[in-house]
């Protein structure tokens, strides 16, 4: 029995009561997260702990908001790119969607920024496709741009 007591002093993971790292290292864990703060929030453990925990809460909330924020940003970029071509985002997305072109807003917004001519070509096709499927009112939509080959679909045009 005496021997087992001595044995337990040596670090043993399976012991029921495990004191873990020393006080110093426990504090380092928190103070590392507060290293970029200012004032006593940075160096005093008791104050740093409060603000680090609050900061971690904010970062958890921010993780959830990030995806929706990015989705809104990509939608905004595609919409402004489509409006430059003279249509709107609904025409652009639905025109591509009905032709089973599976590009999401993120890749479309990348195209709008870095490859505007590709974006324009896709847009011209989407407009023609949208009109030929009879989705929107062609009078409001305007004549779709020419130079697009649609296989098996009727080209729509405003009759003067």
């Amino acid at each position: 029995m005496f021997l087992t007591a001595i044995r337990s002093i040596i670090y043993n993971e399976n012991r029921l009561y495990n004191p873990g790292p020393s006080k110093f290292w426990r504090r380092r864990r928190i103070l590392r997260l507060s290293a970029h703060y200012f004032g006593r929030r940075r160096n005093c453990y008791r104050i740093a702990l409060v603000h680090v925990q609050r900061g971690l809460l904010y970062s958890t909330i921010g993780k959830k908001q990030r995806s929706s924020d990015l989705m809104k940003l990509h939608a905004q970029r595609v919409s402004s790119g489509a409006e430059e071509l003279g249509m709107n985002m609904a025409v652009y997305r639905r025109g591509l969607e009905s032709a089973k072109v599976c590009l999401n807003n993120r890749s479309l917004s990348d195209l709008a920024i870095w490859e505007p001519r590709t974006f324009k070509a896709l847009g011209n096709f989407a407009w023609n496709n949208y009109a030929s499927q009879g989705f929107g009112n062609i009078q409001n939509l305007g004549n779709p741009p020419e130079g697009v080959v649609l296989r098996g679909l009727r080209r729509m045009k405003i009759v003067e």
Partner: protein, 206 residues
């Protein structure tokens, strides 16, 4: 910022000057059109932290058209931070004092709140009439389409054309011209500072 991103200059030569004619336009609706150009929302490179907005020159702000009877009903609140220094100024009074303020406040309200709002407001140039200083007029390269077409007044139509229009109905004999304009102000109530948007009480005087 990495050395790779330092060479990335989104807004190089990208500040465009737009012209917007405010004649007979609703300022509160056109503010959202102007916002699109002031904050750069119309560009695919838009990002809320990206300072990619353009300049907008608004002309004819004197001839702005408020909807309904808003000239008499809409009150602009101001507080000078002294006790009892609250003021509610009616839209027509504000317009008399400064004929660019209604447009300015409408755009300021429409813009997104943030650190970029003041710099964006500085890129808005409002002029009460169509006279623009030549150094500003030289920069303008684009005109924003108006929200609605400017209607022609009866005085502007030549008499010969106006006479050709058939008379669709006769006015009643006791009709007084201008008597049925709703929102007509009571001249006695004119310069009263008001607590709430102006609404005449009791029987209407007209």
């Amino acid at each position: 910022m990495s050395s790779f991103k330092r060479g990335q200059q989104w807004a190089t030569f990208a500040r465009i000057w737009h012209l917007y004619d405010m004649k007979w336009q609703n300022p509160y609706e056109s503010a959202y059109v102007i916002k699109k150009y002031l904050s750069g929302l119309w560009k695919p490179i838009y990002h809320p932290l990206n300072n990619c907005g353009d300049h907008v020159v608004v002309i004819n702000s004197r001839e702005v058209a408020l909807p309904g009877d808003d000239w008499y009903r809409r009150a602009y609140f101001h507080h000078r931070t002294y006790a009892g220094s609250k003021t509610w100024t009616l839209a027509w009074e504000l317009h008399q004092a400064d004929d660019t303020l209604i447009v300015k406040k409408a755009v300021y309200t429409a813009l997104d709140k943030g650190l970029l709002r003041r710099p964006q407001m500085e890129r808005l140039h409002i002029f009460p009439d169509d006279k623009i200083p030549p150094e500003i007029a030289a920069n303008i390269t684009n005109q924003i389409r108006q929200l609605r077409p400017v209607p022609k007044k009866l005085e502007e139509i030549p008499e010969e054309v106006a006479k050709q229009c058939p008379q669709l109905f006769d006015f009643p004999k006791d009709f007084v011209e201008g008597s049925n304009l709703w929102g007509k102000p009571d001249p006695e109530m004119k310069a009263q500072p008001i607590r709430y948007p102006y609404k005449p009480r009791g029987k209407e005087p007209w």
